[in-house]
């Protein structure tokens, strides 16, 4: 008996997308309405997920190809809410570039639909379907400012490299299918004979594909260019939302069918993690464009998330989920600042444009200061706790090398965060920026700053939420 009630949120989202598309075609100048309706759709979907499925103990649907459990519901809600904030703070930016079109919210909704399918997938085919849906929407989003050369270049680059990685991923899927006779995670787990080392090839190919999606080193090459070229609001989307879905698939894929092969994939994850942390820290030092810098910093942060996954324990998964949640909050604040750097209808994104910000805009620079110190992982800000949980779970498994390299790379990373602070606080001021920001932008900046600043007062809440994730 198929229980449609449980996938009602996905169905609702899919139907709304079609409805909005039709509305956009038939009604002229409807971009504002569609933007608002999309926001409502995102909220309703998350409420639906919260009501229908939140807290349910593992339910399988459609021949076990879709799984609904605490992890999936939690990650879906995080995805939807982050997409909500991306959409709500990007409208002014899009209007400035005259690309405030109906396609933008609809594309975001479609990619979100792809992501929540990915999050729920318990089957290689379903997972691939979700992945492609979100990727296709993302290619278009990257080129959304199509009059700009950089944006088109970003989209094309993303498309070509992403197609390549999808190819690798599919090849991995077919290898696994060949050896186990099924694409379903549970069946694979049952069929698994740990002596079949050839399966490792399948795992490696799939890991490569996934590592590409979350831009882990050495599959990160696309990230700086795409992040720099895409419109800022889309970059914000890239840095946060697809990572949530890919992370969930990472967890599900490694921990459900292949937990017994942990000796095989743990090394790969440790390598990806160390390489990302170190590379993200070192390569960001020379950057002068803020969006590029954020790209490298996000590569570094992905390294920490992978460190949590590499542990092979529930605590590790929980710490990764906590990390990505805090990371999203920090990123939201950071990009809100970026979207506020506007003067005479032009957005500034070079690191030197922040020069002397503290004198002209004391509150904005104070928020940015808090966010940057938090990204650097300095206590007592939220970013420190995120790292603390990760390293706590890493050290539980006595992975000292990973922990020490990770912590040393935070010191290197601190350098470039400090450099931004130096430019804001120690350098001479330049012209003022506009201050007529939308209420939502101000809200998202102040909310994220306050959350980061005051997280230390009661850190237990987030742990409590994460501690109910139970995969193994």
């Amino acid at each position: 008996m198929i229980n449609f009630e449980l996938i009602f949120p996905e169905l609702f989202l899919a139907l709304s997308i079609m409805f909005l598309l039709i509305l956009g075609v038939f009604k002229k100048d409807s971009s504002k309405i569609i933007q608002n309706l999309s926001l409502i759709v995102l909220l309703i979907t998350s409420v639906l997920i919260f009501n229908e499925t939140f807290g349910k103990v593992e339910i399988m649907l459609f021949n076990d190809s879709i799984i609904i459990d605490y992890l999936s519901s939690l990650m879906k809600i995080i995805t939807l809410l982050s997409a909500f904030f991306v959409l709500v703070i990007s409208s002014n930016y899009l209007k400035t570039f005259k690309i405030f079109k109906i396609e933008y919210p609809i594309l975001i909704l479609s990619s979100v639909l792809g992501m929540i399918i990915m999050i729920s997938s318990n089957d290689l085919i379903v997972f691939y379907m979700g992945l492609e849906l979100q990727s296709l929407a993302l290619y278009v989003l990257a080129t959304f400012n199509r009059d700009q050369l950089k944006s088109s270049e970003a989209g094309l680059k993303y498309f070509v490299l992403s197609a390549l990685s999808s190819g690798l991923l599919l090849y991995g899927c077919s290898l696994i299918y060949g050896f186990t006779g099924s694409t379903n995670f549970n069946v694979i787990a049952e069929q698994l004979n740990s002596n079949e080392y050839v399966l490792t090839f399948g795992i490696v190919f799939i890991l490569v594909g996934l590592a590409f999606k979350i831009s882990a080193v050495p599959f990160h090459m696309w990230a700086p260019d795409v992040y720099e070229g895409s419109p800022t609001s889309v970059t914000l989307f890239f840095t946060m939302v697809p990572k949530i879905a890919a992370l969930t698939v990472f967890i599900r894929f490694l921990y459900v069918p292949f937990l017994n092969l942990i000796d095989q994939w743990q090394m790969i994850l440790v390598f990806l993690s160390i390489a990302s942390m170190l590379f993200g820290a070192i390569a960001a030092i020379g950057q002068t464009n803020l969006k590029r810098l954020v790209a490298y910093s996000s590569i570094g942060h992905v390294g920490y998330i992978l460190a949590g996954l590499a542990t092979g324990t529930n605590e590790g998964i929980q710490s990764s989920v906590i990390y990505i949640t805090i990371y999203i909050i920090m990123n939201l604040g950071l990009f809100s600042c970026l979207l506020m750097m506007k003067r005479n209808n032009q957005y500034y994104e070079s690191i030197d444009d922040l020069s002397g910000l503290s004198k002209n805009h004391p509150l904005l620079s104070l928020s940015l200061l808090v966010i940057l110190f938090s990204l650097a992982g300095i206590p007592p800000l939220a970013g420190f706790f995120a790292k603390f949980y990760i390293f706590k779970s890493v050290l539980e498994q006595s992975m000292y090398f990973l922990a020490i390299v990770g912590l040393l790379s935070t010191v290197v990373a601190a350098f470039y965060y400090l450099r931004i602070i130096k430019i804001m606080y120690f350098d001479k001021e330049i012209e003022k920026y506009d201050t007529d920001h939308s209420l939502w932008l101000k809200f998202s900046l102040s909310a994220s700053t306050i959350l980061i600043l005051l997280y230390f007062i009661s850190p237990s809440q987030l742990i409590e939420v994460a501690s109910r994730i139970n995969i193994i």
Binding site: P379, F384, K392, I421, Y425, I463
Partner: protein, 493 residues
């Protein structure tokens, strides 16, 4: 008594800082800003005096303990004081108001922000000295980097950016290994509560590595030779109040950490590594004293003298003798007062002449006599003349060292002579001699606030020099119990 006095001490300055955040930084508000911050820090000072009065000298158990669950099954917010930590809290609350008064003369722009940074710094520093949980300690220990970075970077001298970065990255690099060690302790012993860890003890096979991890952090912060190079840079470029905070309090965090954690948690490793500490301390004493002799910049000279004095402190701590550790704590308190006073004294002439070079000055005794007298007191305290607090500390440390290792004590004593040499030579070149630079004649003597600050510092220096009993009474029992515990742990393993 249920009043959470320690948490109030930690929180009060931050609340003051929050209040400052909402005062608009206009010209007319400068006075309000100063008074608010001064008031906050003075209330904190009196609160800490009250704490000292209530403090029970007869026991080494932690007092005024507050414990609250912070992260379920992981960290408890736990604070408390014993004889070792209470003096550092007093030092912090005593120095901060003086820093705030001193901004009258030295800080010209962004006053509100500066005072916010100083007050938040005070919160963190008090937190370091009274936290009884390793994670809480680490939190406060690291958090202090943020305000100090800004103080050096925004209000510092010409090479402030370089110095601020060097300070931040050096100390951060030292500390991350400590974080690994703290989390490892959690997994080894199941708790990070210091009181419980004292009781359980840490398995001998882990002690050496953990000790080294803590050492890497404390050695940078102390600073010990050869990782002391950030200190002269940071001191020279920081504004006067920043140098005072750095020298008087920040450096003491590490000395305190050595006593509380290295000795308390890892006795076996401490015993093994004592020769290392002795060597580094003796090198620091001799080597940096010689460097100090060569300095042309007054602030740099005092910065190097700080390294040398902290060399005595680490030497005293690892004698594991009653006198040695008592001497170290008194030396730290005394150095806190004296180095603060010396930096403020340099600040006084710098504010007038905008030069820190020794060669600019000469013959000041004829122009500004009041200043010269006070400066002399501090110089004599720095070289450890009997009758000043500096003497008590150095004397006790050397006494402890003689008991433990004759050779080291002899070499360290040479350091005392060198210490006298560089500081007296500084005094001679600045204060005596002929007035070569005619611009100096326009200098005015101390104004009211400067006189107030410097005499406030001179008083305890002389008072505790003649009558150190209040200090020794406070720390005596805690230290003798610490040493007993140390020896018991040593024989058991």
């Amino acid at each position: 008594m249920n009043f959470p006095i320690l948490s109030s001490l930690i929180l009060l300055p931050s609340i003051g800082a929050l209040f400052l955040l909402f005062i608009r930084s206009e010209k007319g508000n400068q006075k309000t800003i100063k008074y608010v911050s001064l008031f906050t820090s003075l209330v904190n000072f009196f609160l800490s005096i009250y704490l000292w009065i209530l403090f029970d000298h007869e026991t080494s158990a932690f007092q005024f303990v507050e414990e609250r669950v912070w992260i379920e099954d992981l960290i408890n917010y736990k604070v408390g004081v014993d004889g070792i930590s209470i003096l550092f809290i007093l030092l912090t609350t005593f120095i901060t108001p003086l820093c705030i008064i001193s901004v009258n003369n030295s800080i010209k722009n962004r006053l509100a922000e500066f005072l916010i940074a100083v007050l938040i710094m005070e919160s963190f520093m008090i937190g370091v000295f009274c936290s009884l949980d390793l994670v809480v300690f680490y939190l406060f220990f690291e958090a202090g980097l943020i305000p100090m970075f800004l103080i050096i970077g925004i209000w510092g001298g010409s090479r402030r950016v370089y110095s601020a970065f060097k300070f931040f990255l050096y100390t951060l690099l030292g500390s991350v290994l400590m974080l690994v060690a703290i989390i490892s302790i959690y997994w080894i012993n199941g708790t990070t509560d210091i009181v419980k860890l004292y009781e359980i003890g840490i398995d001998v096979k882990y002690q050496n590595l953990l000790w080294l991890a803590f050492f890497s952090s404390f050695a940078v912060k102390t600073p010990m030779w050869p990782v002391h190079t950030w200190l002269p840079d940071a001191h020279v470029e920081a504004p006067t109040a920043g140098s005072v905070l750095l020298a008087a309090i920040l450096l003491k965090m590490a000395g305190y950490g050595f006593i509380r954690f290295s000795l308390g948690l890892f006795p076996v490793a401490s015993e093994i590594f004592t020769p290392l500490i002795y060597t580094l301390s003796v090198i620091a004493i001799i080597f940096t004293s010689l460097i100090a002799l060569m300095q042309e910049d007054m602030k740099k000279l005092i910065a190097y003298s700080s390294v040398a004095h902290m060399g005595f402190v680490t030497l005293g701590i690892f004698t594991i003798q009653q006198q040695g550790i008592e001497g170290s704590i008194i030396q730290m308190i005394s150095h806190g007062l004296v180095s603060a006073a010396l930096f403020l004294s340099v600040g006084v002439v710098y504010d007038r002449m905008h030069s820190r070079l020794i060669s600019t000055y000469g013959g000041l005794v004829n122009i500004i006599p009041k200043y010269s007298v006070l400066f002399m007191i501090f110089v004599l305290a720095s070289l450890g003349l009997p009758g000043t607090s500096g003497f008590i500390g150095e004397f006790l440390i050397l006494m402890g060292t003689f008991k433990d290792n004759f050779l080291v004590a002899v070499v360290a004593s040479v350091g005392v002579i060198l210490g006298a040499a560089y500081i007296l030579w500084l005094y001679k070149r600045v204060i005596f001699g002929k007035i070569i630079n005619s611009e100096l004649r326009q200098m005015v003597d101390l104004n009211k606030s400067e006189l107030l600050i410097l005499s406030c510092l001179a008083f305890p220096i002389l008072f505790f020099g003649f009558y150190p009993d209040p200090l020794i009474n406070t720390i005596e029992v805690s230290i003798s119990d610490l040493i007993t515990m140390y020896n018991i742990n040593l024989t058991n393993n």
